[in-house]
């Protein structure tokens, strides 16, 4: 038994060491596109501070407990001829004191937690930019009531400006989440939820639905662009303008196809159609991605998408319209011309 | 030696209580959570219906009060049935059991009549509005409990008639009684919360 005991302890130690070394050597990269630990907003920073506070405490407790466990295993391993150990039933003062110690640690964690809960859920000032987020199977609509802008799957925000997101949706529960900008807030049918964020660093961020919402939950992504003041204003101006009229021949033909096909039943293009079941396409050409962030907006991808939406996004509600290749090509050219 | 009492009565255990009785108490505790969840659902949807009819368009308080009185009376007859059985008065035990079952059946028929009126007269169905859904589900499950109780009581009565139930089996009747009183108490809660509180 002793030999086994030593072996066991050694192996347990090795595992822990290997894990530790794994963390150090491989150098886990934290500054990735959906990292939750590189906050780029006020909300994110407050959350992150609490996360780090709890992490240090729990890491300390973790090391103490695991080290204690290993030490006890090593020190009290069975040796040949060992007598029956003393039958100790407990030690009340010791047990009371560690109960209190745990409770104290929780106080240290609990107080800032509650402070941040209330801070992050304050009623936003009237000056906050309002964005209505509509979560649908499986894409996002973003409405800016103040700016009279409706767009989809790509959210544009001004840096340093507090934004009040009002979240609602018509079908199932989704969750609005941009990891680098802060926590999630669920989109619950028949309710309007709110989350208030203040982005602090310009850049492009990735968002994703974080509540399982059916077949294409994995494909319900979006992009967030945080602009400086000038960039924001120019984006707003571009969106408020009427969609550009197609110029080249292919795009003109595309517009005709769009207007005559089933597209108009679901999609809005200002001045052309007024469908609301699918994303607003008025400024489709100004977006970098399509199909809720799963593809880059290139002519080939737009064609592939139109040809068979459900192939790229299982369960997609948009049907395959059965267009001929040249029709698809024209349609793609038209859509991409809508800057 | 140690298990001498086991030979005496296999159902009496460590606590001196009958296993079946302890089991019934635990079941009733569990059933409290069941009705608690249903009542909670009803209350959380109270006043949330998007259209009528609402509770006070349909409720017939005199009728339901009579139901409540009938069910309360049945608790009394249940107690009398058990007492008679314990005194080996099989004739009256049978009568009281039957009376309890009949009162229970009366309650169920009242409920059937009530539901029928709501559906046919007031146009309130399971899918009319949230009130319809939560009302029928809650009271329906209570009615199902009463129905189950009536079947149970009738079964006991039938056993008694066939000479297969006597004073030695009073625990069987006592357990049915526990269940019956519980169902009665639940009705008082439902009657108060749903019918009486505006």
């Amino acid at each position: 038994m002793t030999r086994h005991g030593r072996l066991a302890t050694a192996l347990l130690l090795l595992t822990v060491l290997a894990l530790g070394a794994g963390c150090g050597l491989v150098g886990w990269e934290w500054d990735t596109k959906m990292s939750t630990v590189q906050p780029k907003s006020e909300f994110g920073r407050m959350t992150h501070d609490i996360f780090m506070l709890i992490s240090w405490w729990t890491l300390g407790i973790f090391i103490a407990v695991e080290a204690g466990l290993l030490y006890v295993c090593w020190r009290f391993r069975d040796r040949p001829g060992a007598p029956i150990p003393k039958q100790v039933h407990g030690h009340t003062p010791l047990e009371i004191s560690w109960t209190i110690a745990f409770a104290l640690v929780l106080v240290v964690i609990g107080i800032p937690t509650i402070r941040v809960i209330f801070k992050t859920q304050e009623v936003p000032a009237a000056t906050a930019l309002r964005v209505d987020v509509v979560g649908r199977q499986w894409w996002w609509e973003f409405q800016y009531p103040g700016q009279k802008i409706v767009t989809a799957n790509e959210l544009h925000l001004p840096v340093g400006q507090t934004v009040a997101f009002h979240l609602h949706g018509p079908d199932v529960i989704h969750s609005f989440w941009v990891p680098q900008l802060g926590g999630k807030r669920d989109v619950v049918p028949a309710r309007v939820n709110r989350i208030v964020l203040t982005p602090e660093v310009p850049g492009e961020y990735i968002g994703q639905c974080a509540e399982y919402c059916g077949a294409s939950h994995a494909n319900m992504r979006f992009r967030v662009f945080v602009h400086d003041k000038a960039g924001w204003e120019s984006w707003v101006a571009g969106q408020q303008a009427a969609p550009a009229e197609p110029k080249d021949e292919l795009a003109v033909k595309g517009k005709e196809i769009f207007a005559q096909s089933a597209c108009v039943g679901c999609h809005t293009i200002t001045g052309v159609s007024a469908g609301t079941l699918g994303p607003n396409l008025s400024h489709f050409g100004s977006r970098t991605t399509l199909a809720a962030g799963i593809m880059k907006a290139t002519p080939e991808n737009v064609m592939k998408w139109i040809e068979d939406p459900a192939r790229h996004k299982p369960g997609a509600l948009m049907p395959n319209l059965g267009l001929r290749d040249e029709q698809t090509k024209a349609l793609a050219a038209y859509l991409l011309s809508l800057k | 030696m140690a298990d001498a009492h086991v030979h005496h009565d296999p159902n009496i255990g460590t606590t001196g209580l009958d296993n079946r009785k302890v089991g019934m108490w635990i079941f009733l505790g569990s059933d409290c959570m069941f009705f608690g969840s249903l009542i909670g659902t009803y209350l959380s949807y109270k006043g949330k219906s998007l259209g009528g009819p609402g509770p006070h368009d349909v409720f017939n308080i005199p009728l339901t009060s009579e139901s409540a009185a009938v069910l309360l009376a049945s608790s009394l007859t249940m107690v009398l049935a058990l007492a008679a059985l314990q005194k080996s008065d099989l004739k009256w035990a049978g009568r009281w059991l039957l009376a309890t079952a009949i009162l229970g059946a009366h309650f169920v028929l009242n409920q059937v009549y009530e539901f029928a009126t709501f559906v046919l007269h007031d146009g309130l169905t399971l899918s009319t509005n949230l009130f319809g859904s939560s009302f029928y589900t809650l009271t329906g499950f209570h009615g199902a409990h009463v129905t189950g109780g009536v079947i149970w009581l009738m079964a006991l009565w039938w056993q008694l008639k066939r000479g297969r139930l006597d004073a030695r089996d009073y625990t069987k009747v006592e357990i049915a009684g526990l269940y019956w009183h519980f169902v009665d108490i639940v009705w008082i809660a439902i009657f108060t919360i749903i019918y009486l509180i505006p």
Binding site: G68, I117, K184, A190, A215, I294 | I26, S37
Partner: protein, 619 residues
């Protein structure tokens, strides 16, 4: 309802002699039912494991198309449902069944036929749920089945029906078992076994059974409302009619959080038996461990909304549920220190059983600590529905429950089979599992922190998730290998394993006072109990100079012949079948529901009156 042993002719020898399939189908012996639970649950555990392996294979690389989105959604739904309801709960039930009567010095559970009924209903429910694969309608709404996704509008077809009815059937089985075990523990203890002399495994079992009988009604109601919505057009989850989809979440988690403790407390009980045995010391601060278990169970009902911090409950509710959740960490942490203190000063024998218990402490600690992180709502808003949470609860439910259950297997296997499992293979199993487990789930903490959401069947390559997903997948296959080692061990030692004898570990509690495997009546003479570690007291005394307590007087052949055990019955399996016919009728035809209902009623009568004395015995 109950079995009247005294009215039965025949006796112990009748079933003891019986073998063959029929004897298993009609058995009411808690030990056999325990084995049935164990074997069935282990098969379901393998199925859930295979589902996990397919998912891991899919996620090993970005943009993978090994399985379709639909299949992946079915896999994670069935993996979760299977592991919770068909693997961990019934594996625990195997130990409850086998060990509760043995540890409290009883000859059977309070209601032996009800016990058989629980098993058969559980089996029907498991088969019913998994039969959905055959009909191409595997559930795909997640194990948590959030409405409105699971309403008829967004989930037409039968997949959710299978899930909903399957869970309903399984819930009945769990609750019946719960009533039975509570009565057994409360009312069937050997003389002298006061509540505080009950082994800690018994205490944890008791808390679990209370959680089962009080928490399952909530999910029963949630499922009934869903069933009515889907079949009868009620509006409980219809947002368009003004319903609140969060009603489901509240009801589900009022069940769901106690469920977590239903899954972990049995393992805590096992560890509390294994550590003292192999350290040769009593459990340190046993009363505190017991009270902590009760506290955990009690608080478990007050924290359900910590699964819902992201739904927007408002800061007050967030704060209350956050504090309540943190409070649970106190009794949990206390338990861990008590276990380590149990080892302190002992003479520790590193058997496979002990290694798994040590693994439990080491891994569960980690799961508990990461749980403290998302007890804080701001942190939870980042971590919920990411792989960080997946890592967290696998450290609790795999690193905790599964390690604890395997510890129980190695510890009690000789009691159940009469033969020891091979220790070398056992240690190989442990180390492979330990390495595979940490390889699989430790990187998932990191993946969650860099934003990988749960329940996605694919992910883009530019997010840096690929490498550690690959590591995680390799780890999962190492776990599978370790399970294979266990299976090999079982088959290898079935015939040729070392014969155990009654007490191979120099253990402390009553089950080791009787032969392995125990005779059908368990105890030839019912012991009188003097302390929590009764057998140890009989063997070694209290260690403080007290003499060993007396052993029960040996029973004569005549005494043994006079022991009455309940004879076999086929009504449990018939009743379970009738019930399944009734509930599955909802998918086929209402005529079947009515027919099944009548059959159920008929079987209930036959069940209830099976041992009622015949008429001529009346006065």
């Amino acid at each position: 309802m109950a079995t009247h042993a005294a009215f039965m002719p025949g006796g112990a020898t009748k079933e003891a002699a019986a073998t063959g399939v029929w004897s298993w189908i009609t058995t009411v012996d808690h030990k056999r039912i325990g084995i049935l639970y164990g074997v069935t649950a282990f098969i379901f555990f393998l199925m859930g494991g295979i589902e996990a392996l397919i998912m891991r294979a899919q996620l090993a690389r970005p943009d993978s198309d090994l399985v379709s989105a639909q299949t992946f959604n079915e896999l994670f739904t069935m993996h979760g449902t299977t592991m919770v309801f068909l693997a961990i709960m019934p594996l625990s039930a195997a130990f409850f069944n086998y060990m509760i009567p043995l540890q409290i010095g009883a000859r059977d559970v309070a209601f032996p036929r009800l016990n058989a009924l629980s098993y058969w209903i559980f089996l029907s429910g498991g088969l019913f749920l998994n039969s959905s694969f055959l009909f191409g309608a595997a559930p795909d709404g997640g194990w948590f089945g959030y409405t409105t996704l699971t309403t008829r509008q967004f989930s037409p077809g039968h997949s959710i029906d299978f899930w909903m009815l399957g869970l309903q059937i399984l819930g009945i089985a769990s609750m019946l078992a719960g009533f039975n075990f509570i009565v057994t523990i409360v009312n069937m203890r050997a003389p002298g076994m006061t509540l505080m002399r009950m082994p800690v495994f018994i205490w944890m079992s008791l808390v679990v059974q209370f959680l089962v009988v009080l928490a399952f009604p909530a999910i029963t109601v949630a499922l009934i409302l869903l069933m009515f919505d889907r079949f009868f057009g009620t509006l409980f989850y219809a947002a368009a009619a003004g319903a609140d989809p969060l009603l489901w979440q509240h009801l589900f988690w009022i069940f769901g959080h106690p469920e977590v403790y239903i899954l972990i407390l049995p393992a805590m009980g096992i560890v509390s038996e294994v550590l003292p045995t192999f350290a040769r010391k009593p459990l340190f601060g046993a009363p505190v461990v017991i009270y902590s278990g009760i506290m955990i169970g009690f608080f478990g009902f007050g924290v359900w909304s910590h699964h819902m911090f992201s739904v927007g409950m408002g800061p007050v509710a967030d704060s209350v549920f956050s504090i309540a959740t943190m409070l649970i960490a106190v009794p949990t942490g206390v338990k861990i220190l008590n276990w380590i203190s149990t080892l302190w000063g002992g003479t520790i024998r590193f058997t496979s059983a002990l290694l798994f218990s040590l693994g439990f402490i080491a891994m569960f600690t980690m799961g508990g600590l990461s749980g403290v992180m998302h007890a804080s709502p701001p942190v939870d808003l980042q971590q919920t529905d990411t792989y960080f949470v997946v890592a967290h609860f696998h450290y609790v439910l795999f690193g905790g429950s599964i390690f604890g259950l395997f510890s129980g297997f190695y510890y009690w296997w000789p009691k159940m089979t009469g033969r020891l499992l091979d220790e070398r293979l056992g240690k190989l199993h442990f180390w492979l599992m330990m390495i595979g487990f940490n390889m699989t789930f430790f990187p998932q903490h990191y993946l969650g922190l860099i934003g990988m959401p749960r329940r996605i069947y694919t992910y883009a390559a530019d997010l840096n998730w690929g490498f550690w997903n690959m590591v995680s997948t390799i780890g999962a296959f190492i776990i599978a290998l370790s399970i294979l080692v266990f299976i090999v061990n079982v088959f290898k030692t079935r015939r040729s394993g070392q014969v155990a004898g009654p007490d191979p570990w120099d253990a402390r509690t009553l089950e080791w006072a009787i032969p392995s495997p125990p005779p059908v009546y368990n105890f030839a003479s019912i012991p009188t109990v003097h302390g929590r570690d009764e057998l140890w007291l009989q063997k070694h005394g209290d260690g403080h100079g007290g003499a060993p307590v007396p052993k029960p007087a040996p029973a004569s052949a005549k005494d043994i012949a006079a022991i009455h055990m309940p004879p076999p019955s086929y009504w449990p399996i018939l009743l379970a079948l009738a019930l399944t016919v009734m509930l599955s009728g909802l998918l086929i035809s209402y005529y079947q529901v009515v027919l099944g209902g009548l059959l159920t009623l008929y079987c209930m009568f036959k069940f209830a009156l099976e041992y009622h004395r015949p008429a001529q015995e009346a006065h």
